[in-house]
């Protein structure tokens, strides 16, 4: 690990200022992703601003009948919250499908959204990687890439975003609230927070340096059932090869793109009366992969059809 200085933020505005004004500074929440990457020197901040104890760790009802989830709330407490379990079961199911009990006790809402890819070559510092070292090339292209993207990939990067929580939040049409460096407040849809890789895979979200995620806002639960499914190499404690979340008429996929993927074609097909299998096929018509990932297209198609079916019979 490279040397760094540490401060614990007691005030959100001061934390935003401290990171916005220092290019080497980063926010630290649970630390389960950032410290891991710092040990490998994939990340090397010179200053850490610990936002874990800012007063954004709770949950409150919104006037619209939804929930505002604090950016610093742990994944475990969010999944366990009675209102979430009762009204947003897809969110509880998604969170509980990720990581381990210990990690979920530490991981936060904001940190989970901003976790970086698990691409093996991103982690292997002996290999070229455009995301880790812009311009060095992509080692994953042409490799055995079950974890690679099948939507929106570029020649520069085929990495995927593998948060479980974010897939459910996308299906629930959630938004993040941020505090911007100029002192303002901004609202961004979760589905628009992350960017596709294009030529600059190192730029992963539309957040400005020092922009702090203070909350995630869920609208009232949609009419209709909710369901979550995840396929992975072992039964538990592993990132997904493919995830599907369904909430009413909305469908989102995980581990298929550089961002949580809203399956808009599947949604349109469902709205027009298509069967779950037809809706899944409509989305997968837009998937793209090299020979090594064609199996993933079939996998996601079947998983999506089954999960839409499950949501339909839930409640």
């Amino acid at each position: 690990m490279r040397p760094f200085t540490y401060e614990r933020a007691t005030d959100a505005q001061a934390a935003v200022k401290a990171v916005a004004e220092n290019p080497g500074a980063r926010f630290l929440a649970g630390g389960t992703n950032l410290l891991d990457l710092m040990k490998l020197e994939i990340e090397a901040p010179t200053h850490l601003v610990d936002v874990g104890r800012l007063p954004f760790a709770g949950i409150e009802e919104t006037d619209e009948g939804g929930l505002r989830i604090g950016g610093a709330m742990t994944n475990a407490r969010l999944a366990a919250h009675p209102k979430v379990r009762e009204r947003y079961p897809v969110l509880t199911r998604a969170i509980l499908a990720g990581a381990s009990g210990q990690l979920r006790n530490k991981a936060t809402t904001a940190g989970n959204l901003l976790q970086r890819t698990r691409c093996d070559y991103f982690y292997d510092t002996t290999k070229p990687c455009n995301k880790r070292q812009p311009g060095s090339g992509c080692s994953a292209l042409g490799g055995p890439t079950g974890y690679g993207a099948i939507f929106g990939a570029s020649e520069a990067c085929i990495a995927t975003h593998t948060s479980d929580m974010a897939v459910a939040m996308t299906a629930l049409d959630a938004s993040v609230e941020t505090m911007t460096p100029d002192g303002g407040v901004r609202t961004i849809k979760v589905e628009a927070l992350h960017l596709l890789p294009e030529a600059t895979p190192q730029v992963e979200t539309q957040l400005a340096a020092g922009e702090l995620i203070t909350a995630v806002v869920l609208p009232p639960p949609p009419l209709g059932g909710q369901a979550y499914a995840k396929v992975r190499d072992r039964a538990s404690y592993a990132h997904g090869l493919a995830m599907v979340a369904v909430a009413g008429g909305r469908v989102a996929f995980g581990a298929v793109a550089h961002k949580p993927w809203r399956a808009a074609q599947a949604e349109a097909a469902l709205a027009a009366g298509a069967s779950p299998a037809e809706a899944a096929a409509a989305e997968m018509a837009g998937a793209d992969a090299d020979d090594r990932r064609t199996h993933k297209i079939a996998l996601v198609r079947r998983l999506a059809a089954a999960t839409i079916e499950d949501a339909g019979s839930a409640r």
């Binding site: 690990m1 891991d36 366990a80 210990q102 006790n105």
Partner: protein, 168 residues
């Protein structure tokens, strides 16, 4: 950087490099070598300790984040002659072979039983709004963050099954 934490009931002030993980602080600076370093990347659970009663991976935390926290390690749960019920259950069921993962397994079990008692669901919980019954499938899922290289899983499961439903 100065940090004060309470470890197993005793307040400790350490002045160490900010890079020091909670795990290294416990092992290298406080001599509490019960907590183990398996992977140092959150992938095995050998470093599991309880912070303010909640189980976490101490390798993915830096000491500075824990100023003011209460930390319990395997040494603080119980000692020979006055074992914690979870330690006793592991002993009775022979729930270990080399023992390297065991402190993490035991701390994790203590945290897990509290989570279940608090009604927290797991991926195996069919009804998210009903109470928790610690079936074998529930125990396995809730303990999946602790890897045992010796594969003592059947006996670990048996030990936890003995405790399940009883306050630990």
């Amino acid at each position: 950087m100065r940090t004060t934490i309470t470890v197993n009931g005793t307040a400790q002030t350490l002045d160490v490099d900010p890079r020091t993980t909670l795990l290294d602080a416990l092992r290298e600076h406080l001599g509490l070598t019960g907590s183990k370093k398996g992977c140092d990347h959150g992938q095995c659970g050998a470093c599991t300790v309880l912070v303010n009663g909640v189980r976490i991976n101490s390798c993915l935390s830096i000491l500075a984040m824990h100023d003011g926290d209460q930390v319990t390690t395997i040494e603080g749960l119980g000692q020979p002659g006055a074992l914690h019920p979870v330690q006793q259950a592991f002993l009775e069921r022979d729930a270990l072979q080399c023992g390297y993962c065991t402190p993490g397994q035991i701390c994790s079990t203590v945290g897990m039983l509290q989570e279940a008692a608090d009604g927290w669901a797991s991926r195996e919980t069919a009804d998210l709004t009903a109470g928790i019954s610690l079936t074998d499938a529930e125990i396995r899922e809730r303990m999946s963050g602790n890897i045992c290289r010796c594969s003592a899983y059947p006996q670990i499961l048996a030990a936890i099954r003995d405790l399940a439903g009883e306050p630990a």
